[in-house]
């Protein structure tokens, strides 16, 4: 949806710049949007995502905060009830776990438990860590937790264009929205339109088309899936690749339509396997599309362990394109080599690219 009449000239931006652009557009168009979190105005500006906001919009609307994740989430709820549209940010999702009472008992319930009289339009940006020793408490993908709570929306964009359009949609959505940014995506480049455009929450995006296997993915796993799908094409195996973009609400129509066409499903997830969104998708696809399935649904997720810190311990831990290729090959009964795919990767396993030099 295009809200303003501004021209939508595409430019090439990084994912982090696209997030920053969305915040500038939102704050410029609506004085009720406020932005706060630990470090929003520090020299690093949350990986560049909050750059320039305080200078442009002032320290009443853009501010650093006490190290008080729980209360500041409640403050966001109260400010929203008072007519503001708060956008909070946490440099890791894991820090936000201190605020679960406010999120689950407060934000998620307010509209429902008071009979639909008030809404809580807050957006909470959460950054997912991976690699470079992020370890047990800086790397958790807990979107399935959040999606389990009725009343919350959960957004996980993959590319810069979607990051901007979905963040604008999240900020102006009347419900509490958790907006999960994978740290490994912040430097990815893409074409991003100018101005205010909003991508509806709950609509998946078809990134590749094919009839062999349906691959459903989200966030960083979609990057691995793109490498895999393009590699598979060389072996004449063409996959449907659906990037969910939001996991709550989830675009079930798109998932089922694709599965009915291909008869085979592989779901990718950045989270631990048990109780995952991938598991929910596999289950529902089996229930809804049973007679059309040619094989059992498959999933690739993280093992059910905390993520260790050591460079040595994380070797081979995260699912990558070659694992996706192998899973698809097994589904279609083909032998497909992955050596070329693996050889193309020139950086160590614990970084997304040469640009990433730590520390987090």
């Amino acid at each position: 949806m295009t809200v303003s009449g501004e021209p939508r000239v595409p430019r090439t931006l990084t994912y982090a710049e696209a997030v920053n652009d969305a915040l500038h557009v939102a704050m410029a168009s609506d004085p009720s949007v406020i932005c706060y979190g630990l470090g929003v105005d520090d020299p690093k500006t949350i990986f560049g995502t909050t750059k320039g906001l305080q200078t442009r919009f002032g320290d009443q609307r853009v501010f650093d905060m006490p190290t008080a994740e729980a209360a500041m989430t409640g403050v966001a709820i109260g400010a929203a009830l008072g007519g503001m549209r708060p956008v909070m940010v946490h440099q890791r999702l894991d820090f936000f776990l201190l605020a679960m009472d406010q999120l689950v008992n407060g934000a998620a319930k307010w509209h429902y438990m008071f009979g639909g009289q008030r809404s809580v339009p807050i957006t909470i940006r959460l950054i997912l860590g991976r690699g470079w020793g992020q370890g047990p408490t800086h790397s958790q993908s807990l979107h399935a937790w959040f999606a389990h709570i009725p009343g919350l929306k959960v957004v996980m964009p993959t590319n810069p264009e979607d990051a901007k359009g979905l963040l604008l949609a999240s900020i102006f959505d009347p419900n509490p929205v958790l907006f999960l940014e994978h740290r490994w995506l912040h430097n990815t480049m893409g074409s991003v339109p100018e101005g205010d455009y909003r991508i509806p929450l709950g609509k998946a995006r078809q990134l590749r088309e094919g009839d062999a296997v349906t691959i459903v993915s989200m966030s960083y796993m979609t990057v691995e899936a793109l490498h895999a799908v393009d590699h598979l094409r060389q072996s004449d195996v063409h996959c449907d690749l659906l990037d969910l973009r939001t996991v709550s609400p989830l675009d079930w129509d798109a998932v089922f339509a694709s599965v009915r066409r291909t008869g085979r499903l592989l779901v990718l997830d950045t989270a631990a396997e048990t109780g995952s969104i991938a598991g929910e998708i596999a289950a529902r696809a089996a229930i809804e599309c049973w007679t059309l399935l040619k094989s059992a649904p498959q999933r690739i997720a993280m093992p059910d362990i905390p993520e260790p810190t050591s460079f040595g311990l994380t070797r081979g831990l995260h699912p990558r394109a070659e694992h996706i290729v192998a899973a698809v090959a097994a589904l279609v009964g083909k032998q497909i080599g992955v050596d070329e795919l693996v050889a193309r990767r020139t950086v160590p396993h614990d970084v997304p690219g040469d640009w990433f030099k730590g520390p987090f």
Binding site: A71, A79, A80, L81, G82, M113, F114, R118, S119, K153
Partner: protein
């Protein structure tokens, strides 16, 4: 602010005094009627009564403007009524009816009346504290002169979120009044197992940087005078404050009965507090001062009983929401 030197034994203006007594007696009668009718099994939700604690709610409600904001706790009937919340909608909510203030979604612990700025009460101890602070942040950003009142009990002062929220209110000089009713118990746990000897709750609040005052929560005049002074300063932009009033819950933590026999407190302690019944004390005071006669108080009681009886009838006669409504309003 420092311990007040105001002369609080002087009776307030007769019109105000009448309003305070009326509100206390009204809250008392509503709660006693709930207790009396609860065994009928028609109010099917956890219910925390405020009997014995009416003075704070009546006085604070009288101090606050209609457009001031308030959030409350699991024990919120008195706060809601004191702020001016609809009695009919509250009772209908406790009965689970579609005419309830939350359309039967919340029950006794989730009261709301937006017409009078009662923004909601919630059932998790400490949960509504930062929400009340956020309401104050919005008021400050929007440039209104509204004050946000956060009702808490002594238990909530042990929650970390209180310190986080109070600190932020101090940092931003937000227009918040933290209104603490210290009734000595967190469910059945006395202060003696929760705080070291000699520590005061308002002292903790002062250490965070809040202006504080404290007083007798069973003396409605004292609560009114101290709260009015504090709210005036908060409204003038002097920053948030914390008021602690000592009071006592007469009945069990949750439910309609007395529970002095189960061993967590003594009958003697209860009887001592009952001697200091805020409603009775104020009636005597106003009669002695010539503001009221005994007959005048009887007339007031009749008026209250008529209103409460009508409200219960409304609640009982209202329909339940349809089961399908349970699936509405998950998202806005």
């Amino acid at each position: 602010m420092r311990a007040t030197t105001l002369e609080t034994s002087t009776a307030l203006e007769p019109v105000l005094a009448r309003a305070l007594l009326f509100q206390m007696k009204r809250i008392r009668f509503v709660e006693e009627e709930i207790a009396r009718r609860y065994p009928e099994g028609l109010m099917r939700c956890p219910t925390h009564l405020s009997i014995g604690q009416e003075a704070v709610a009546a006085a604070v409600g009288a101090v606050l403007r209609r457009d001031d904001l308030a959030v409350g706790t699991h024990r919120a009937h008195a706060h809601y009524l004191g702020k001016g919340g609809s009695l009919r909608a509250m009772l209908a909510e406790i009965y689970g009816k579609v005419t309830g203030c939350s359309r039967g979604r919340g029950g006794s612990m989730h009261l709301i009346d937006l017409d009078v700025g009662f923004e909601g009460s919630t059932a998790i101890v400490g949960n509504s504290i930062p929400i009340g602070v956020g309401l104050a942040l919005a008021a400050q950003l929007r440039g209104t002169d509204q004050v946000s009142c956060v009702f808490v009990g002594d238990g909530a002062i042990e929650e970390g979120v209180f310190y986080e929220a109070a600190n932020f209110a101090v940092v931003r000089r937000l227009p918040v009044v933290f209104l603490c009713e210290n009734n000595l118990y967190s469910v059945y746990s006395p202060l003696s197992v929760r705080q070291p000897p000699g520590r005061s709750i308002h002292g903790l609040a002062a250490a965070v940087g809040l202006a504080t005052d404290h007083g007798d929560g069973n003396d409605v005049d004292e609560v009114y005078v101290k709260t009015a002074a504090a709210v005036g300063r908060v409204r003038a932009g002097e920053g948030p404050c914390f008021l602690e009033y000592a009071t006592y819950r007469w009945r069990e933590h949750c439910g309609p009965n007395y529970d002095n026999d189960i061993g967590y407190r003594t009958e003697a302690e209860y009887l001592a507090w009952r001697e200091r019944d805020p409603v009775m004390l104020y009636e005597r005071k106003l009669v002695a001062a010539g503001v009221f006669t005994e007959a005048g108080i009887d007339v007031m009681q009749v008026e209250i009983e008529q209103e409460v009886s009508d409200a219960f009838r409304f609640a009982e006669d209202s329909p339940f929401p349809e089961p399908a409504e349970a699936f509405e309003h998950v998202y806005c």
